[in-house]
């Protein structure tokens, strides 16, 4: 152990956010920092958990890390990487990876890993086919779960069919069922994901050795596929825009995207209106089951939950169609460009041996790419938005019976607290009395809501604990998603020009324009043609925005992030992972985005 003082604070040194000193009571005791945690290096997973966790949403961290660790450590036995420990500090999720260091243990794990992972790689497409079926069934099953309504009297069928089970029993059963299916989703999610990342890591490492100055984004361009599900919801919108123009009903679509006004107006258009609404219904299932976020928080609803987001994007597409744009992604051109880049890098290699190895590694990356990219639609988007909607139904019940004030209050209860509280409801319905102590939850929930607002302002240190000696192991880099450079930057941030914000160059080109700082997709309407989007992070459901903007900047994200991929497709400059763009750039300021160097400059300060 080194005696050098770490450049990062120790977990035990971090103070409670002022004004939210009681934050820890929201989360299970096993997520709290322990004294021995000072011996390990942790970092803030801002990529997935950019906001403080509400009590219920903690389940995303719990379920995800339980599944990830199980598959890395116990199912596939990655040789050096084990599972991940997580802690909650002031509402933020910090993680650390456990590793095997004893050569004998690694050797043993490697032999297991080779056999097990080999089976998956060998049969990848077949297993992925089965996976899609399993996930499809899981989503269907989740949606089919009927939450009991607690009627005054049981349905007659309970008697006539001699079922012998009453509705309040089903409260807990269905609740547990919803939670179980969510947990299964995370298991399926990690079933193939880390193996997929493994393939990427190996190809990245090869490229970095053969071409020491290659950027991540260039490697990503060689790996990335063109036909991915992520683009599908946006493609559906474009189809609907074209249809609206073809049917001559385009004038009903207004930028406010209010479904209560627009949908009746379409319906009033007779046959044309019906044809369009039928097309909408078809697009919605399944493609509008896309979260407006990354699917980690209850407030990230799907397009289907709130049609405002897709509807407000339609007028701009309609305008483009009328100008003669066919709105089609130039997929053939994109494929040809990808092939050119691959061929030219391949040609630069020194020997045919290297070229053969390059082909093999890239081949495995291409094999795993569809899963790595498309699983998100099934897992984080479709199933997760359904999951939170099921929980909302329990919220409705609790609110209806006066245990909480409104449905969404349920997300300020930990999932175990919900389970416990269902007991109160079960008894109340059965006994015919009011739930016990209806004054219990409302003040707690009000206080938790208040604390979350305070915690949002807390500046989470990116890393805590002792500086790790070695993170060169690719398995660790894969699990942590950070490199030596990231750590060094965190330890000693480069002194910056105060008008410059430095991030990752994600898509080439230089553009100057007016910054639009957007925190949510619901602010879509404020964007003008040619503006530069500045946002915390973009998600697939933000794709329609890219037809309007001239460049994009994000706080969070890497070269394989959504913004990076879409910006490259649109051929516009993008700088991602700036950490602080939405804080330092003010809405309306003129900025320059240099997607070649990763520098964003504020031009009028």
């Amino acid at each position: 152990m080194s005696e050098k003082k770490s450049p990062f604070p120790m977990p035990s040194e971090i103070e409670d956010a002022p004004g939210a000193e009681n934050w820890a009571e929201m989360y299970p005791y096993y997520t709290h920092v322990q004294p021995e945690d000072d011996e390990r290096f942790w970092f803030y997973n801002s990529m997935h958990f950019s906001e403080p966790m509400s009590a219920f949403d903690m389940i995303t961290a719990e379920s995800a890390y339980h599944a990830m660790g199980a598959f890395v450590n116990r199912v596939f036995a990655f040789p050096t990487g084990k599972g991940v420990d997580y802690r909650c500090i002031n509402g933020r999720i910090y993680i650390t990876a456990n590793t095997a260091t004893d050569p004998e243990e690694i050797q043993h794990r490697l032999s297991i890993f080779q056999e097990r992972a080999g089976h998956y790689y060998e049969n990848w497409n077949e297993i992925y086919g089965q996976w899609e079926k399993r996930m499809g069934q899981l989503i269907k099953d989740m949606n089919a779960i009927e939450i009991p309504e607690l009627p005054e009297f049981e349905d007659e069928a309970v008697v006539k069919e001699a079922k012998g089970i009453s509705q309040n029993h089903y409260l807990r059963e269905t609740y547990n069922d919803v939670l179980e299916k969510y947990s299964i989703m995370w298991n399926h999610h990690f079933e193939m994901l880390m193996l997929g990342y493994g393939a990427y890591v190996v190809f990245f490492q090869f490229c970095k050795q053969a071409f020491p100055e290659i950027t991540d984004q260039t490697v990503a361009r060689m790996v990335a596929g063109i036909d991915v599900l992520m683009f599908r919801p946006d493609d559906e919108l474009k189809k609907l825009a074209k249809l609206a123009v073809k049917l001559g009903i385009d004038e009903v679509f207004t930028t406010d995207g209010n479904p209560d006004v627009i949908l009746p107006a379409v319906k009033a258009k007779g046959d044309a209106g019906k044809e369009w609404l039928d097309a909408l219904a078809e697009s919605r299932d399944p493609w509008f089951n896309i979260s407006i976020g990354d699917g980690f928080y209850h407030f990230e609803r799907s397009w289907n939950d709130d049609l405002t987001v897709p509807l407000s994007a339609l007028p701009h597409y309609i305008e483009l169609v009328k100008q003669g744009d066919n709105l089609e992604r130039p997929t053939e051109q994109l494929k040809a460009e990808r092939e050119r880049i691959i061929t030219e890098y391949r040609d630069l290699l020194n020997t045919d041996e290297e070229r053969a190895a390059f082909d093999q590694m890239l081949g495995v990356s291409h094999l795993v790419f569809p899963y790595v990219e498309d699983h998100k639609f099934y897992c984080e988007h479709w199933l997760t938005t359904s999951f939170f909607n099921k929980i909302r139904e329990f919220g409705d019940l609790l609110a209806m019976h006066g245990i909480i004030e409104k449905s969404d209050d349920i997300f300020h209860m930990h999932h175990t607290e919900v389970n416990l509280t269902l007991g109160n409801l079960m008894n109340s319905w059965a006994a015919g009395s009011r739930p016990v102590n209806q004054g219990y939850w409302p003040p707690i929930i009000a206080e938790r809501r208040r604390m979350l607002e305070v915690l949002k302002e807390w500046q989470a240190p990116p890393a805590i604990g002792p500086m790790p000696d070695n993170i060169e192991d690719p398995a660790l880099q894969m699990l942590w998603g950070i490199t030596k450079e990231t750590l060094n930057n965190w330890a000693a941030p480069a002194i910056q020009n105060e008008n410059e914000i430095i991030g990752y160059a994600a898509s080439p080109g230089v553009v100057e324009g007016v910054a639009r700082v957007l925190r949510s997709i619901n602010e879509f309407g404020s964007i003008n043609e040619g503006d530069i989007l500045v946002c915390p992070i973009t998600h697939p459901s933000w794709s329609p925005l890219f037809s309007k903007i001239s460049a994009a900047v994000s706080d969070i994200g890497g070269t394989m992030s959504h913004m990076a991929i879409v910006a490259r497709e649109y051929g516009m400059p993008a700088v991602v992972g700036t950490g602080s763009a939405t804080k330092r750039i003010k809405d309306g300021q003129k900025i320059r985005v240099d997607g070649d160097t990763g520098i964003v400059t504020i031009l009028d300060s």
Binding site: T80, P212, T215, E344, T351, P474
Partner: protein, 368 residues
């Protein structure tokens, strides 16, 4: 090995040759630099016009001097380890060459060609040794370059000084140690129109720091390129991906001085105004244009290149031609370093993953 042909006539036909008529195959006659400039011209690269005073011209000149003064014999008699004698003899030789005019007919051919370039036009006069700039042995730095020479007198003077540079003590000692026969000694001299450059610099078609073949590294500074070559200024540095044309690195250094032409001939050093010091000397468009040229040159030669470039001041009227190449030679440092393959093909494609995921283990075992 090329055994020398003793065919010394007064014929001046091959004494000078124009860039446009040359290729790399003419290196024995025009040296590495001359052949390379000719090759660039024929590849359609924009190179300032010029000609080469050939090795034959030099030999004809030296034969006359040798007959009179026994130069070759005196050199062969030297001991490379006897520094004192070496210094004194070579100093005499240089003085002799510098003050001995070439035969009238040769001088005539040189100055005629100079007038063909333009009226009293500034030229760069550079030595172009036959072994210089070639892969086998680099004489680079042992020979001289005279920038911004104007008028016939300055030109002829610079040519003689180039020839004389073959008698630098280092150069002579090198030949003696390697047993290079003095009869084989040959030097061509390049006479090239000078560009009054707004900025200039060098570029490499692979990274000089990492050897990466997928990038072009460009270094540039204000004024003439001599400030970079001599190391008097820290240049701006740009890294461009050859394949995607993305500019992946940009480091703007404070460029405190620049080299400019002196009206009397030669160059002078001037301070750069403060605002201009920290401005990038190249626009993104110029960076991309240079990269494109670098790619073409590398492709033409089939190996990595080390290139000198300039962007002319007065782009009026010929904006498209404002980027010029002054020289290109094979990159020599990394060419010899290409190492063992990064990876070899495996039995199964995914075996690579096992190899990498188990690499920690392999490393640990090795360190035991």
């Amino acid at each position: 090995m090329r055994k020398n042909i003793k065919k010394m006539t007064q014929d001046t036909q091959n004494s000078i040759l124009w860039f446009k008529d040359l290729s790399l195959a003419d290196r024995p006659l025009v040296g590495g630099k001359g052949g390379s400039l000719g090759e660039l011209c024929s590849a359609g690269i924009n190179v300032p016009n010029g000609y080469v005073i050939t090795t034959e011209a030099f030999k004809a000149y030296l034969d006359i001097l040798d007959a009179e003064h026994g130069i070759r014999q005196k050199i062969v008699a030297l001991d490379p380890d006897d520094v004192t004698t070496l210094n004194s003899v070579t100093s005499d030789m240089r003085a002799l060459v510098e003050k001995s005019p070439p035969p009238e007919s040769l001088a005539q051919v040189i100055t005629d060609a100079y007038r063909d370039l333009g009226d009293n036009i500034p030229v760069a006069v550079r030595s172009s040794a036959t072994s210089e700039d070639s892969e086998e042995a680099s004489f680079a730095g042992l020979q001289d370059t005279y920038l911004w020479q104007k008028g016939e007198a300055q030109l002829l003077d610079a040519v003689r000084r180039c020839w004389a540079s073959l008698y630098n003590p280092e150069s002579v000692a090198y030949r003696l140690r390697l047993n290079i026969p003095e009869e084989d000694l040959a030097m061509a001299v390049v006479v090239q129109t000078m560009v009054n450059s707004r900025c200039s610099g060098v570029m490499f078609t692979r990274s000089p720091t990492s050897g990466d073949k997928s990038v072009v590294t460009i270094e540039g500074s204000w004024g003439l390129g001599s400030s970079i070559v001599s190391g008097e200024v820290t240049p701006d540095k740009f890294v461009v991906n050859k394949i995607t044309s993305e500019i992946t690195g940009k480091n703007i250094a404070p460029k405190a001085i620049e080299h400019l032409p002196d009206e009397k001939g030669g160059i002078i050093e001037r301070p750069v105004e403060e605002e201009r010091q920290v401005i990038s000397c190249l626009s993104n468009e110029e960076i991309r244009e240079l990269t494109e040229i670098a790619r073409r040159v590398e492709k033409h030669y089939g190996c990595a290149q080390d290139i000198e470039w300039a962007i002319s001041h007065d782009s009026a009227g010929n904006e498209n031609n404002s980027v010029l190449l002054l020289q290109s030679r094979p990159e020599t440092v990394w060419a010899t370093k290409d190492k063992a393959p990064v990876a070899k093909p495996a039995a199964k494609a995914y075996d690579h993953i096992f190899n990498v995921m188990g690499s920690q283990l392999i490393k640990d075992n090795k360190s035991k």
